[in-house]
Structure formats: C-alpha cells, structure tokens
C-alpha cells in the first residue's frame, strides 16, 4: 500500500508503514492506519516483537509547573492564488518543495530536476512574498521574515548542485537580509555567484503547454511590462498559523493577535497572556532559526524562574558499582556481533563474523545477538563481563554516534571504565551500503571488527575528574540586555554581579521612547533599575570597568576597577552584554548643520518637544547611513522600523507635514510591516536610491535641499526640507580588550562571535561565557531581552551544578617531553592550552580539561609528541590503520 510521501511533498510515495523523515528522533516506524489494510502481518514478522498491532491511542496526564509552546507554524499554501498556477503547472513549486528537490534524501537525491519531465532546468525564477506582505484575501499582511534569505540560499545551492551553468533570478520587492552576516551572503550571491536580483511586481505566471516552460510577466521598477521564460518557478511562500494551532491556543486559553500569532510584549517576549505558559519560535511571529533558538532558551528561562524552588527535586541519581582495576590485567576482549534483526544478518554472514572474531588476538569471548542493543542483551552483557572477566568490550553493530553512550553505560553497570569500549559499524558501513554483495560485505565486516579489536587492545582506563562550580554569575553591561540577564539569574536564585561602565544603568534604552508596538520604554527601564537595586542577590557596580580576567567554566576570577580601587569577583559564568552604539555620521552635513539629526537625536528632540520639529513643514529621512556600505557590510536591523515609528509620530504631531523616506530596501520584517503600511497610508512618500547614487544634502537658505534620483520617474527630485534625519548604523563598541581578556572571538565588524550562528546563538566558543544583546549584533529591544533571558538560561545550566565532570577524551601534555614552544596553544581553537612557567623555571604547556573539546589539533601540532589526545593517541589510531589490511 502506498500514499504520497509527506516528507518528500508528494514527489515520491511511501508505504503504509514508514519513517516520517530521515532525521526523525526516535528513528522509528509508524503505521498509517488510514492506509493500512489491516492484515496485521507486520506484528507476526517483526523479529524484535516491537509491534503491537492492536495498540490504541492512550491518554496520558502530565503534571507540570510551566508549559513551553514550541509548536512551530505552517508554510503558506499558494493554491488560492491563481495567478501563479501552483497545483496546475507541474514546474511551479513552492520553496518547501524545492528544499526537498535540493536535498540528498529528496526525490531526486539532490540532483536538480524539474517535475514535469525530469529535465535539468537551465533557468529558475524565485518569486518572493507569496502570501506575505499582501493584504488580499487569503494572503497575509505581515512579512514572513525568512523568505529572502532562504531564496538566496536555494539559488546558490541550486547553482552548486546543477551540472551545467544554471541561471537563477530572484524577483522581489525589498531584499530583507537583516540578520547577522546575512547582508554579506546577499552580496556574495549577487557579485560572486551571479544570482540575478530583479526588483519588480509580478503580474502572472503562464505555462507553455508544449514545453511546460513558464512565462513570467512582471512590471519592472519603472513600471514597464517585461516577459521572461523559465524552466521552473519557485514560490517563496511565507509562514502562517494554521487553524489547528488556533485551536491549541483556545484550549490553553492564551491570546492570539489579529494575525493569529501569540500575543506577547516587548519586555516579556516569550510570556503568553496566561501565567506560566511560555512560547517560542514561529508561533510568536515568523522568524529564522537563530531567533527561534534564542527564544527557546528564553522560554526555558521563564520556566526556570517560576520553578527555581523545586529545581532538581525530581532528579534521581543513578549509582554504579565500583570500577574494577584492570591496569595490570592482560586485555580480555569480548565481542558482541549484532544481527540487527535482518538489517545486518540479511546482507552479510553474522555467524562467520562472530567465528572470525573468536580467532582474533586478545579475544576470549564472542557471540552474536538478535539485537545487541535490546534491554535483555544489556543484562546479558553485564553478566558475561563478570563471568568471563572481560576487561575490553567490542560491539560490532551500528553507529557509535547513536549507541556508544548506551553500551558505555552497560560497561559502567558491570564495573568497567566506560572508555574500555569500542564499536565496529558493520551496519551503516557494510550491510546497508553493500547490500548486493554478501561476500564483500562479510569480508569488510570482518575487517572492521578486526580493526576495532586491535584498537581495543590499546585503549586505556580514563579518569573523569570533576571540578567544583561557583554558583555566582557576572554580567558585563548594564543596558537592557545586561539588566534583563541579571534579573533572570537572580530570580533563579543565583547571586549575580552586574558591572556597568557608565554611572547609571539603562544604556541605549534610556534614549528610546517606544518599542515598535508602542510600549513606553523609559518607565520600564526605571522599574528594572529599582528591581535590581532592591534584589538581595544582585550586586550592581556602576562606573566600573573590567581590569583582569582568568579562570574557566565554573571557576572564573575577574577583577573590576571602581572609583580607583580594585574589586575581585569570583563566579562560575559570564554574560557579555556590553551593547553597541550609534554611528556618528561623517556624511550628509551631520555635525555641520544642526538641522541634520540622527534617529536618536530626533527621539530626544521629540521628547523635549522642540518646536522646530513640531512646526516643520517637511522632513526627510535617509536610510542606511553607514550601514550596508563596503566598510560596514551589514544591515543595522532596527533603523527601518525606527524610521516608520518616527515618521508616524511626526504625522501624529502634525498631519500636514510632508515626510519623505529615502531608502535602499525597506526592512520592516515580521509584523513590523504594519508600520510601513500605516506610514504609506498616512501619506509618507518613499523614494528608493542606490548605493552608487546616494542622495545629496546641501544647505539652501533657511532649509536644506535633498536631491535624489527617483527610479520610477527616472529623474532627479529635489526636496526642500526643514530637517533631515539620518538612520545611522549601529556600530560595535571597542571590544578588543574584553575579547582578549575572556578569549572571545570577534567577527570582521567587531561584534562578538557566537559558537554557532544557528544552533548556539548565545554561547561564545569559550565554555561558560554567553553573549546577549547588541554586543552580538544590532537588534531591537524585544530581541535583546529574549537573548538576555536565553543567555541567563544557558548560564544556569552551569550555575545550577555543584560540580562539572571533565570528559576523558581530552588532551594531555607530557611535561617531560614538552619544550614550551607554544605550537599547541596556537593550534587550540578553544583556548584550552596555556604555556606557563613552572617552579623550576622551565616553561611547559598544560591543558585546562574543562575547556578541552578533544579535537586533538594540539597533538598534531606538537613537534615533540608531548601533547596527546587521550583515547586517540597515535598508537591507538595507527593500530587500526595497520589492522585494516593485515589479513
């Protein structure tokens, strides 16, 4: 029985028993009851007896103190928009379909083919904003935030996957690459990869009935109709909340906004209207992976705050028997070969591999099991280890990536050190990939088993020492991010030091009036300052700077200077939230004429009710001042939204005021698009300019004249303005000292670099040091707060422990062989090695185990062989090389 595969979006079929997708966790099969004919044969043939065919869905009741909603969202279905022909023309696909086409596990195994005739396309078009930024029926008014970036990515990858030169064109309104390093990706796609970007409005997609090619009609920027033919068209569909999630919200009694996203506030970005229920990801607003991951940790932080009193109360500690001392014993190796049902036994000779294992040097026991990983086999292995006096265990089965920790646990249960274990991956590397060659697969399985047994003879017991953890935290920076992080930590019960270089807390937020949703900022900041000062677990140091820092995760020591005297602080984690600052423009007469203001200047002029603002007849905003320039190739993310707020505020003050916004792309991402629409409805005039043809600003009698080329008219226009507002860039502070003291990397522009741009957006590469707010990248208040809470949550993972276990697979430097050259220090990507002078005057390198990640780069760099990676020493690796061919 087959049905269209949901995972491969109908390009392929699947059976009634299937795995939902290749990366599913757990990687287990499910039965599609609607498709199943009900024969029940599966239950009878399953060797592991894993199927209970008659099993009915069961209701489970869970008691929880907090709930986190991470339910995601759906992609927009463009079937309702007939001008694009989706569902009618086979070569019109959505971006989600195209993701599957590009994927190695997709319908065409990652080769780019078009659905109608499997031809390799030569020209592909992407159409942006499908279902987004569109107020028509069945579309959505908001921007879906992620589509510009994924379209560029798909175009670049399609070019990489294509066998012949592929022409890719992205048809868009505004290119919204506002995230960290996104603009550089856009620049590279355009300039180096040759992706074409066409600013336009799409008229329609028609199909050539004979060739199935697609004829695209669009109006270019000057309003002229153009026609171009493509082999394929990809619709960049947005995100939307489906009905089933609206039902979930109702069930949980939480409020949704008019776009059906969860209602939250800028200062409580992951809190729903119901206390104790938190939300993260795209159910909140369309967003990309880094922001979703940040919010996930922020939501966890919310739950940690309300549950801090009961932290750890449900934890049961497991105990192990004392480890057998095997140091002086000859290796006695037991080999367990797995049939994996028929996954291995169906394709190679498992009994022969087992027989062969018995003949290998050092092996005293070998057997094969139906499933070596099953629970009853673990009990059996434990017994065999004891009975046969095994001191090395080799399992020839599947991958150590998924099963090594489980078998190591079995060793520990049997009183063996967990490092006395080795695996041979005869399923993923033999039976599954050489399925049609029984003899060769069997031969290779024997080789892999021999290699594993050879290595097992040399592996050693490794210690797993612990270091104690200081439960206090240091937060550097007293802006909105630092204050949020400090409060979040203190509310979880961790003593927190908050260090701010200025004489008052608040940072940039003190200069801001409203969040984009109109929430008042300064009052809230005052409230936070008071909470911090009153909090018994927070020590605030204002007018203080960092002088020195040392230590490692769980055990940092930082010296700060305040009023000329030094204070030493000990703490287990650090959150760097030093913020960023407004770029002071050198262009457009800024600093020469006081009618030229920055966005923050305008905010303070509005706050102090300056008459020249209120009574002005004309105002001009210039966007991207200092941003998206060769010397600063990034988008400052907040300026477009801020300009919309300011323009609307000016219109509120004086509806007669003529307001012009000169822009390159309007980047009011997510629901901020509403402000852009409001501004246009209120009569704000938007004129686009190019980087090559920037506006000119000149003094002109009583006013200022701004000259810019209007791309629609194709002519220069001159605006006489009463004042000009520059949406100037956000630039990092001078972070070089902090970066040196805490061994933190900076990106090319000087912002702190995260450990992983998508999966670890708040961690630095140095364990125990987290990043929050604009020190990481320009971002609005609500995102700074979410990231600060995320950093507090990640810090608490360390702080809540009494001790940290140091893994055994780390480097070690033999002092006798070390000559202190420092090559290992240079090679170490984690700052885990230092050369220090010993008492006898000699300098040698030593490894800080808590920081070492066990990559072994130092062992390769070491010219004397003093540095070695435990468990992967030269002889432990080379014995496998020797065994690989030694027949």
């Amino acid at each position: 029985m087959t049905a269209p595969s949901e995972y491969n979006r109908g390009f392929e079929h699947r059976a009634a028993i299937y795995i939902k997708f290749a990366q599913a966790v757990p990687l287990a099969y499910t039965i599609d009851r609607d498709l199943c004919i009900g024969c029940g044969l599966c239950e009878k043939v399953c060797l592991a007896e894993a199927i209970q065919y008659d099993e009915e869905p069961k209701k489970k009741e869970l008691e929880a103190g907090a709930v986190v909603l991470a339910v995601g969202n759906d992609a927009f279905d463009p079937r309702g928009l007939d001008v694009y022909g989706y569902g009618e023309f086979p070569n019109v696909v959505t971006s989600m379909d195209f993701e599957r086409i590009l994927c190695a596990t997709g319908p065409y195994r990652g080769h780019v083919h078009r659905p109608s005739d499997l031809k390799e396309p030569e020209k592909i078009a992407w159409l942006q904003c499908i279902g987004s930024r569109d107020t028509h029926e069945c579309s959505h008014p908001y921007c879906s935030s992620v589509c510009c970036m994924y379209a560029i990515k798909e175009a670049v990858i399609a070019k990489e996957h294509s066998v012949h030169p592929l022409d890719t064109a992205i048809f868009y309104m505004d290119m919204r690459t506002y995230g960290k390093d996104f603009e550089k990706y856009y620049d590279r796609a355009r300039e180096e990869e040759g992706v074409r970007f066409i600013r336009c409005r799409i008229h329609s997609v028609e199909e050539d009935r004979e060739t199935n090619d697609l004829i695209l009609r669009y109006a270019d920027e000057s309003g002229n109709m153009q026609v171009e033919t493509f082999d394929m068209v990809v619709l960049s569909v947005g995100l939307k909340t489906p009905k089933r999630l609206v039902e979930v919200a109702k069930l949980l009694d939480i409020e949704l906004d008019k776009d059906s996203f969860v209602e939250t506030g800028a200062f409580t970005p992951v809190e729903t209207s119901r206390k104790g229920v938190y939300v993260c990801g795209t159910f909140l607003e369309p967003k990309d992976i880094p922001c979703s991951v940040m919010e996930a940790s922020a939501a966890a932080c919310g739950a940690e705050e309300v549950l801090s009193d009961v932290r750890g109360t449900l934890v049961k500690e497991k105990t192990y028997p004392e480890e057998t001392d095997v140091f002086s014993q000859e290796p006695r190796t037991g080999v367990f070969v797995c049939n994996c049902g028929i996954n291995i036994a169906g394709y190679l000779d498992v009994p022969a591999v087992t027989e062969y294992a018995r003949t290998l040097p050092g092996v005293v026991y070998a057997e094969h099991n139906l499933f070596t990983c099953s629970q009853d086999t673990q009990v059996m292995i434990t017994e065999v280890i004891k009975r046969e006096g095994l001191n090395r265990v080799v399992v020839a089965s599947c991958t150590p990536k998924t099963h090594e920790p489980m078998f190591q646990e079995t060793l520990r249960d049997a009183g063996l050190n967990k490092y006395l274990f080795e695996m041979a991956n005869i399923r993923n590397q033999c039976s599954w990939v050489h399925s049609h060659d029984w003899d060769k697969a069997t031969e290779k399985a024997k080789d892999l088993t021999r290699m594993a047994v050879a290595r097992a003879q040399l592996i050693q017991v490794l210690p797993q020492p612990t270091v104690s953890v200081d439960h206090k935290a240091l937060v550097i920076g007293g802006g909105v991010s630092g204050m949020t992080a400090a409060l979040a930590l203190a509310d979880q019960g961790f003593h927190t030091y908050l260090v701010e270089q200025a004489n008052e807390l608040g940072g940039n937020a003190l200069k801001l009036i409203h969040t984009w949703r109109g929430e008042e900022i300064s009052g809230r900041i005052k409230e936070m300052v008071k909470q911090l000062k009153d909090h018994p677990l927070v020590d605030v140091y204002t007018g203080a700077t960092i002088k020195e820092a040392s230590g490692f995760i769980g055990n940092f020591e930082t010296t700060i200077t305040q009023n000329g005297s030094d204070i030493k602080l000990e703490h287990g984690a650090v959150i760097v939230a030093v913020g960023a600052e407004e770029y002071k423009p050198t262009e457009y007469l800024y600093g020469e004429d006081d009618r030229v203001l920055t966005a923050l200047d305008l905010d303070s002029a509005i706050s102090s009710k300056e008459e020249r603002i209120a009574k002005a007849k004309t105002a001009v905003f210039i966007q991207c001042v200092g941003s998206r320039e060769p010397e600063r190739p990034y988008c400052s993310k907040v300026c477009c939204t801020h300009t919309m707020q300011s323009a609307l505020q000016l219109k509120e003050m004086n509806p007669e005021m003529d307001i012009y916004v000169l822009y390159r792309d309007i980047r009011t991402y997510g629901q901020r698009e509403e402000l852009y629409r409001d501004a246009r409805n209120r009569g704000v005039i938007f004129i686009r300019y190019d980087l090559e043809q920037k506006p000119e600003v000149k003094k002109n009698g009583d006013g200022i004249s701004v000259r810019v080329k209007d791309p629609i008219l194709g002519r220069d226009v001159e605006i006489n303005s009463d004042f000009v507002v520059l949406a100037s860039a956000i630039v990092p502070r001078d972070n070089s000292l902090l970066s040196e003291m805490f061994k933190l990397a900076l990106n090319n522009e000087g912002f702190f670099l995260e450990a992983h741009p998508k999966l670890a957006p708040v961690e630095s590469a140095t364990a125990g040091i987290l990043l929050a707010g604009m020190a990481h990248y320009p971002k609005p208040v609500e995102e700074s707060i979410a990231q600060a809470k995320a950093a507090a949550s990640r810090a608490s993972v360390v702080l809540c422990k009494d001790e940290l276990t140091i893994e055994g697979v780390i480097s070690h430097v033999n002092e006798l062989m070390c000559r202190g050259c420092g090559k290992c220090v240079e090679a170490c990507p984690y700052g885990a090695i230092a050369v220090e002078e010993r008492e006898d005057g000699k300098s040698t390198a030593s490894v800080q185990g808590a920081l070492c990640k066990g990559c072994g780069a130092c062992a390769v760099a070491c010219p004397t062989g003093a540095a070695a990676l435990m468990h992967f020493t030269d002889d432990q690796v080379l014995t496998m090389v020797e065994a690989a061919l030694a027949m």
Binding site: A22, L27, A104, T105, T399, P400, K401, N425, R427, N428, Q429, C430, W432, V433, H434, S435, H436, D437, K440, A441, E443, K444, D447, L448, M451, V809, A827, G854, C855, G856, A857, A859, V860, L869, F872, D874, V877, L878, M880, V881, E882, A884, L885, A886
Partner: protein, 67 residues
C-alpha cells in the same frame, strides 16, 4: 586483462560531520564499492600527516580525510 583495478581506500572521518555523513549514507541505503575502511577521529585536525603516510605505506592506494 584481469579484474578492473579497485583502489583500497583508507578514510579518516571526523566524528561530528563526515562520520555522521557515512552513517546517513547507510540510513539512506546508498550503495558504494566496498573498498573503503573507515577510522573515526574526533576532528579532522587530529589527522597527523604520519597517519596518511602510514596508510599508504601499509598498502592503501589512497587516503581520504574528511571533516
């Protein structure tokens, strides 16, 4: 002519990426010639040039480092 030449390949695969890639090839049932022997390392940075030389000296026709 005897059988076509089948090179014997030694592969050093990084635990975190290339080794996982080889696993995925298995999960996806991608068939390839049984001529490769894999040694797992924690990082391709662990692969000492000595390892490569040793592989060639021991009779491998080529050495593949991926990470």
């Amino acid at each position: 002519m005897s059988e076509a030449f089948e090179p014997k390949i030694l592969a050093f695969l990084c635990n975190w990426c290339a080794y996982a890639g080889a696993d995925l090839a298995g999960v996806s049932r991608l068939q390839y010639p049984p001529a490769i022997r894999v040694v797992r390392v924690m990082c391709s940075g662990r692969v000492d040039p000595l390892f490569v030389v040793k592989g060639l000296k021991n009779g491998f026709d080529s050495v593949f480092v991926s990470g």
